[in-house]
């Protein structure tokens, strides 16, 4: 029978062993990183050589929505699955709003200024993505942040179970599949846009993706809020 003192010292010994082993691992990885010669990367030259065909001039957007559009399609599918998996948790188990949500007058007046500004900034981000850093992910994150700000200052939470919310969650996947079908009819190759239309098609997909990403990220917050502190109360 181990008493309490022995079990703490045993735990401390395990913690010590874990920290030593991981420090050695990190040291080895850092040594290996510093020893590795910089690899000659040909991707940048490839992208620069073919950027004229992609319809956009920002290389990151060209990679995400044209050259490696397959990855982005699967990512939208992941988002779709996350929104399906998070929807049942929206109302289950949350008795009231979390401790973070307040009704401060200064916060409210700040939100009144910030929320429209954030929406405007998200629109700018979406538009600028074709030729500068920006795009659907940044715009979606900004919109989700706007929703989070509104929730935290108690402006009002919509019920996200309705038909329109569900169609926003699935919008990016549906629109992307439509675009893929359209370009397949045109070029008879999977995921190859017609060159003259590719800029517009990319903007179309990004537009849908912005709202889907924003809604899914906001749903992620709404489904989790209040639960961690509640779980701590239950556990103690």
């Amino acid at each position: 029978m181990i008493n309490a003192h022995d079990s703490t010292s045993l735990k401390n010994r395990y913690v010590f062993i874990i920290i030593m082993a991981i420090s050695m691992l990190a040291g080895c990885v850092i040594y290996a990183l510093l020893q590795t010669p910089a690899p000659q990367n040909i991707m940048y030259d490839l992208v620069q050589a073919n950027i004229q065909q992609s319809g956009v001039t920002n290389p990151v957007t060209a990679i995400l929505l044209n050259f490696r559009a397959y990855d982005t399609l699967l990512e939208f599918a992941v988002f779709f699955c996350v929104s399906i998996a998070s929807l049942p948790y929206l109302d289950a188990g949350v008795s009231d709003s979390s401790d973070l949500e307040t009704q401060d007058a200064p916060l409210f007046s700040l939100v009144k200024v910030l929320a429209p500004l954030t929406i405007l900034l998200a629109g700018y981000m979406l538009w600028v993505g074709s030729f500068k850093p920006g795009g659907a992910f940044q715009a979606g994150a900004l919109l989700a942040g706007c929703g989070l700000l509104l929730t935290l200052s108690n402006v009002g939470v919509t019920r996200m179970n309705g038909f329109w919310w569900r169609s926003i969650f699935s919008m990016s996947l549906i629109f992307f599949i439509l675009v893929i079908g359209f370009s397949y009819l045109h070029s008879h190759t999977f995921l190859m846009y017609p060159t003259t239309l590719s800029g517009r098609l990319i903007l179309f997909v990004e537009f849908a993706a912005t709202f889907s990403i924003a809604a899914t990220l906001y749903l992620c917050y709404l489904s989790v809020r209040g639960k961690v502190s509640q779980g701590a109360h239950r556990a103690s």
């Binding site: 913690v15 874990i18 920290i19 991981i22 420090s23 691992l25 990190a26 990885v29 850092i30 990183l33 510093l34 910089a38 990367n41 991707m43 940048y44 992208v47 290389p59 990151v60 060209a62 990679i63 995400l64 490696r68 990855d71 982005t72 990512e75 992941v78 988002f79 996350v82 998996a85 998070s86 948790y89 188990g93 795009g135 992910f137 979606g140 994150a141 990403i213 899914t216 990220l217 992620c220 917050y221 489904s223 989790v224 639960k227 961690v228 509640q230 779980g231 701590a232 556990a235 103690s236």
Partner: protein, 95 residues
């Protein structure tokens, strides 16, 4: 030099996250530690893309951009699932 600094910081973040993942007992801490590990990997990926003085490797940037958003969605899903099991969410020392 800057790229090496970022790589080393990424590895250190990964190691810190791994230590917390193994040592802490609460599920909430484990999800947070996984996030820190993921951010370490993202930093490492970003550091490897700085080969050219005036340009970046867009492939790794696209990967990280995708990865960040998926990581957020994944941790929300993990927290939702964690609230459904009867394990304490936070470590003992946090109560």
């Amino acid at each position: 030099m800057q790229a090496e600094l970022y790589s080393v910081c990424g590895v250190i973040l990964f190691a810190l996250g791994l230590i917390a993942f193994l040592v802490k007992s609460g599920v909430f801490h484990k999800v947070l530690a996984l996030n820190v590990m993921g951010i370490g990997v993202f930093m490492l990926l970003l550091a490897t893309s700085a080969f050219y003085p005036n340009a970046i490797d867009p492939l790794t940037h696209g990967m990280v951009l995708t990865g960040i958003v998926v990581a957020v969605a994944g941790s929300a899903l993990a927290l939702n699932l964690a609230t459904q099991i009867d394990l304490p969410l936070q470590s003992d020392e946090m109560k």
